[in-house]
Amino acid sequence: MTPLVLALNLALSFAALAALALSLDRHHRDAFLVRVPKGRARTLRLAGWAGITASFAAAVSFEGWNFGPVQWIGALTGAALLVVALLAYRPGWLRPAALAALPLALAALPFALKG
C-alpha cells in the first residue's frame, strides 16, 4: 500500500539524513555542543548512506522502477526539510526523533509487505 510505503520511505530517509547531518561537525555541535568524534562520524555517515540505500531499495521493490524513484526522491526532500527545521529550531530533538523514526519504519514494513 502506497501510503505505508511512503511512511516507510519518509521515516527511513529522515533517520538516515539525521545521521548524515550529525556526522558533520557543525550540526553535531548544534545538537551535542561538541565536535563529532572521528569514529562516530564514520559510523554515522555509513549508517546514513545505508539508510538512503535501504529507502531506495524499499521504494523500488514496492513501487516498481517507474514510481519508486519518484517516491524515494520525494521522501528524501520532505525528510531533509524536517531535519533542517529541527536543526534550526530544536537541534536537541534531532537524535531522539531519528531514533524514534527507525522503529516507525520497521513497524510500517510488515504492512507494506502485506499490501
Binding site: 502506497t2 501510503p3 511512503l6 511512511a7 539524513l17 548524515l20 547531518a21 558533520l24 561537525d25 557543525r26 550540526h27 555541535r29 548544534d30 555542543l33 561538541v34 565536535r35 517507474n66 514510481f67 519518484v70 517516491q71 526522491i73 520525494g74 521522501a75 526532500t77 520532505g78 531533509a80 526539510l81 531535519v83 533542517v84 536543526l87 534550526a88 537541534p91 536537541g92
Partner: protein, 534 residues
C-alpha cells in the same frame, strides 16, 4: 576573462534569477495550487455534490443534443463527461480552429445549463500557471522563456554554491539577515533540487513542439497531424467531405469503446459534426503509470463504424509523455501529491527568498538614498510575494460573496483577483518598506483566515456539520493564514544587524554553559576550514 568561472556563474545566477523571478514566483504558486485543481474547483462550486457516478453514454448524448441545438455549424465539439469528482457535462465548441473556443457546463441529469455558480474554479489557476491569463500563445511563450531562464539559473546556482554538500542542512537563521536569507534560499533550493530541475525541464517539454516545431515541420513537410497520428498521440482524422450528413447517436459508440478500453472514458470529440465525413473520437483517462498518454478510438460519424485507434506508443513518445506525466503528477496518490505540493512551495520559497536576498545584499548604507533600480526591485518583490496571496484569498472570497446569479460572475472573480493583487502592489509604494511587508502579509493572513468563516456563513457548510465536505480545503486555508501571520510577525520583528557588522553570538542554547569551552576551538576550526576552501 579576469573573473573566475564561479564568479561569472554567480553573476549569471543573480541576474537571470532576478529578471524572471517575479513571473516565476506567480507560476510556481499557481502551479503548486494546480495539484489541487479538482479540489479547488469542487470548493468553488458548493452547489454540486461529488461522489455520484454517471451513465457516460447518456451524458454524451445530452452533450451532443445541446451542441446540435447551439452550434450545429461548428467544426469541432468537445464533450467532457461527468465524473464522480466533477458532476458536470463540460462542452466546448469552435467554428474555427484558431478560436474563439466557446464553453458551457450542463447538468448531467437534464442536459440543461447548470444552476451551479459560474466560476472558473481551479482551472483559472491552472491556465494562469502556463498562460498568465494572456492570449494563449503569448502567455505560453513568456512562461516558456522564463522556464528556460530558470534552468539557466538553476545550473548556474549549483555551480555558484560553494559548499553544496557540506551546507546541505545549514540554516543559520540567527546570524545575520543576509546569512539567514542566503541559507533559506540554499536550503529550499538544494533540498528540492531534483524537483526544481524536473519541473523546469518537463514544463518545457510539455510545450516543446510549440517552442521548437521545426523538426516536425521539416520531417513531415508541414503536415503536423501526420506526426501526431504516427506518434500514436491521436487516431487518423479525416478531412471534411464538404457535403452535409447526419450524426449517429453517441451512446452506442460510447458503450462499444468502453468495452474495448478499461480506463475511464473522459471525453468525446466530434470533428465536423454536420459533415458527411464527421469523425467521433472517444478519449480515455491515461492508464496508471508515469506516461501521460490517453487511449483513443475514432468512429465514423455517419455510420458509427470504427475508423482506428491509438496503438502502443514508441519509446520516444513514451519518454516525452512520461515527462509530461511527471510534471502533472496525476499518478500520485494523496500522500505523494502532498510531497509534490511541498516541493512546489519550496520552489516558490526559493524564488521568493532569492528575490529578497537580492535587496538584502544591496542594502544601502543608512545615510544613502536607495537608487531607482533598487526601489523598483523592492516594490516588485513586495507586490509579487505579498500581493499574490492577497489576490488568491480575494479570489476565493469573491467566489462566496458575489451574488450567484451575477452577470459575468466568473470574469468578475478573476478581475477581483488581479485588482486586489494590484492594489497591494500599489499601496506598498505609499508605505515605509518594512511596514508594507508586515501589513500586506497581515492582510493576506486575515483574508485567508476569513475564507472558511465566510464560506460557512454563506453556504451553511462547515467542518462541524457532520458532512465536513471541505475539511481539507478549510484546513489548508487555516494553515496558509497562520503561515502568513507568522510571516507578517517576522517582517515586523527587529532586523538583525547587517552582515559584516559586529554580530552578537546567538543566544546560548540550553545547557550550553557546559560546553562553552569547546566553542572557541570549534570556531577556529571552522575558520580554518573556510580559509582552506577559499
Amino acid at each position: 576573462m579576469r573573473q573566475g568561472f564561479r564568479q561569472s556563474m554567480a553573476w549569471l545566477h543573480t541576474w537571470s534569477g532576478l529578471v524572471v523571478g517575479w513571473v516565476l514566483f506567480a507560476v510556481f504558486v499557481t502551479g503548486t495550487a494546480t495539484y489541487y485543481r479538482t479540489e479547488i474547483t469542487q470548493w468553488m462550486r458548493p452547489e454540486l455534490q461529488a461522489g455520484a457516478t454517471f451513465d457516460a453514454g447518456r451524458a454524451a448524448d445530452l452533450g451532443a443534443d445541446f451542441l446540435k441545438a447551439r452550434a450545429p455549424d461548428a467544426v469541432g465539439w468537445f464533450i467532457g463527461l461527468p465524473q464522480p469528482d466533477k458532476p458536470l457535462i463540460e462542452v466546448h465548441w469552435w467554428k474555427d480552429l484558431a478560436g474563439p473556443f466557446h464553453h458551457a457546463l450542463l447538468d448531467p441529469a437534464t442536459g440543461a445549463p447548470t444552476a451551479a455558480r459560474a466560476t472558473q474554479g481551479g482551472d483559472f489557476l491552472y491556465r494562469f500557471h502556463f498562460e498568465l491569463n494572456m492570449p494563449p500563445l503569448w502567455g505560453r511563450w513568456i512562461v516558456g522563456i522564463c522556464a528556460l531562464i530558470l534552468l539557466v539559473s538553476l545550473v548556474s546556482g549549483i555551480i555558484t554554491h560553494r559548499r553544496i554538500f557540506a551546507d546541505v542542512f545549514t540554516f543559520r537563521r540567527t546570524k545575520s539577515a543576509q546569512r539567514g536569507w542566503l541559507d533559506a534560499h540554499n536550503v529550499t533550493g538544494v533540498l528540492a533540487l531534483p524537483f526544481h530541475l524536473m519541473i523546469a525541464y518537463t514544463g518545457l517539454v510539455t510545450f516543446a513542439l510549440m517552442y521548437v516545431p521545426w523538426g516536425v515541420t521539416a520531417a513531415y513537410k508541414g503536415d503536423e497531424i501526420r506526426f501526431f497520428v504516427e506518434a500514436q498521440l491521436m487516431p487518423e482524422v479525416r478531412a471534411p467531405a464538404g457535403k452535409p450528413g447526419g450524426l449517429v447517436s453517441l451512446s452506442p459508440l460510447v458503450a462499444q469503446a468502453q468495452g474495448r478500453v478499461s480506463e475511464t472514458l473522459e471525453h468525446v470529440a466530434v470533428y465536423n459534426p454536420g459533415d458527411a465525413a464527421a469523425t467521433i473520437v472517444t478519449i480515455f483517462e491515461e492508464p496508471h503509470g508515469l506516461a501521460h498518454l490517453h487511449p483513443q478510438i475514432a468512429f465514423d460519424g455517419a455510420s458509427g463504424a470504427e475508423l482506428g485507434a491509438t496503438g502502443i506508443a514508441k519509446a520516444a513518445t513514451h519518454i516525452s509523455a512520461s515527462f509530461v506525466g511527471l510534471h502533472e503528477a496525476h499518478f500520485a496518490g494523496p500522500w505523494l501529491k502532498a510531497l509534490f505540493f511541498l516541493c512546489g512551495l519550496m520552489g516558490a520559497a526559493t524564488i521568493g527568498t532569492g528575490l529578497v536576498l537580492w535587496t538584502v545584499a544591496r542594502l544601502p548604507k543608512p545615510a544613502e538614498r536607495p537608487g531607482f533600480g533598487y526601489r523598483l526591485v523592492r516594490a516588485l518583490n513586495l507586490g509579487t510575494v505579498a500581493g499574490l496571496p492577497v489576490g488568491l484569498a480575494v479570489y476565493f472570497l469573491a467566489n462566496r460573496l458575489l451574488p450567484v446569479g451575477l452577470e459575468g460572475r466568473a470574469e468578475t472573480e478573476i478581475r477581483l483577483f488581479f485588482g486586489a493583487w494590484a492594489c497591494v502592489a500599489l499601496a506598498g509604494l505609499l508605505r515605509p518598506h518594512r511596514a508594507a511587508w508586515r501589513e500586506a502579509f497581515g492582510l493576506a493572513s486575515l483574508l485567508f483566515l476569513a475564507v472558511p468563516l465566510v464560506s460557512a456563513a454563506t453556504t451553511g457548510q462547515h467542518p462541524f456539520d457532520g458532512a465536513a465536505r471541505f475539511l481539507g480545503f478549510d484546513a489548508a486555508m487555516l494553515a496558509i493564514g497562520l503561515l502568513l501571520a507568522a510571516a507578517s510577525y517576522r517582517a515586523g520583528a527587529p532586523r538583525p544587524r547587517r552582515a559584516g557588522a559586529a554580530e552578537p553570538r546567538p543566544a546560548p542554547r540550553p545547557a550550553a554553559h557546559r560546553a562553552q569551552a569547546a566553542v572557541p576551538q570549534a570556531r577556529s576550526a571552522e575558520g580554518a576550514e573556510i580559509r582552506r576552501r577559499a
